[in-house]
């Protein structure tokens, strides 16, 4: 969306660059179903189009994910947010921040952009109600100074999604 996030101000390390190039090649050969990478020449910020899965609450809806990679990716998780308007979901805030453990405490360097996308789609698909998290207004107000979701101390509402 706006300016670069604090974690992505530094350029990618050689290792990060190498790995992202390989992920991109793999994505082009074998993209996850329901996702489209919007081609840019910026390896450090990917914009990805998400299509709600058929037969779920989000069928026929399209959203955009923004993925920013830190200097030491994949030893550090990327920052993943929805570019507003974000889907109405109990774990997605109106500013696009996503409450999903693998993006924060449960990150593992064996995960890829592709596997993150699949997790996010499965989180959307399993939702039974279209509503914002209970603390949405308070949270979004606290983020007004441009705070990254990676600096949030998340408590994960449940481990089902």
């Amino acid at each position: 969306m706006s300016g670069p996030s604090p974690s992505s101000r530094k350029g990618l390390s050689k290792i990060a660059c190498n790995r992202l190039q390989k992920e991109l090649v793999e994505w082009q050969v074998n993209p996850p179903v329901g996702f489209k990478h919007k081609a840019t020449d910026n390896l450090q910020r990917w914009v990805i189009e998400v299509n709600g899965a058929p037969g779920t609450l989000y069928a026929n809806e399209t959203y955009q994910l923004q993925v920013d990679f830190p200097e030491h990716y994949p030893m550090e998780a990327p920052q993943v947010i929805f570019i507003p308007p974000a889907p109405l979901h109990p774990h997605i805030y109106s500013n696009g921040h996503i409450c999903l453990d693998i993006l924060y405490d449960s990150w593992s360097p064996a995960m890829t952009v592709s596997s993150i996308c699949i997790s996010i789609l499965s989180m959307l698909s399993s939702s039974t109600v279209k509503q914002r998290p209970a603390d949405n207004d308070r949270y979004v107000k606290n983020c007004r100074n441009g705070r990254s979701p990676k600096e949030t101390r998340w408590w994960f509402h449940d481990d089902k999604v």
Partner: protein
Amino acid sequence: MSPTVDAAAVAKQAEQLRQEGNFCFKKDRFGAAIDAYTEAIALCPNVPIYWTNRALCHRKRNDWKRVEEDCRRAIQIDHHSVKAHYMLGLALLERQEYAEGVKELEKSLDLGRGANPQGYMVEEIWLELAKAKYMEWEHVSTKRSWELQSLKEICEAALKEKQLLDSSHTKGFLDENTKSNAEQLEALSKVFQKAAENDIPTEVPDYLCCKISLDIFRDPVITPGGVTYERAVILDHLEKVGRFDPITREPLYKSQLVPNLAIKEAVRAFLNKHGWGYKMD
């Protein structure tokens, strides 16, 4: 004065000369550094680091003959010197002694990994080694593809000639003859295509690549969960992310990592057949 005191004093003086050499080296004054190391060597010829430091100065000046000489002396004193084998390898590659140069680089890589698997030397040596192997492959594969191409042309010409000869003996069934002739030519072309396959760069198979770096394995290690990772990468993960196996998420400690020699052999066999896999970027 006793002889031992003398020896200690001489060693101390040589050490001072080395410091002086190092100081000059850092200022890019390689000539002055060489003079200091040479004096140190004159005092204590049995200290390998004086030889390798001087070799490094010669390397900076592209004086590869002297690099080779100094490295060989250093190896005589200490055949475990990572730097001596490394620079000797580079010097040999410089005079296009590929096989010998690669052997020295491999030796220094093994020694370097033993000393410090995450050290900068290991990465630097690997890159030089990969570069040399890639150049060697380029050289050999270009020659191979020329030879195959000319052999293919000869075989095609011979086959066509034979087909022409056969058709002059048999009358009739012209359509059938033409068809089988075309099939033979196609089969021949497929044989040659197959023969060239190994030299065509494609993707390295996933099972020979680390799940974190997505790069071909160099020094693979296996976890108790049975997952294989690149050593330097999993060590980095254990240090920075957490003490768990990135795939199984089971607890994992450095001491539990064991070399995966079978995968290492498989990588070696793959690269021997597909030298293009050494391309690093």
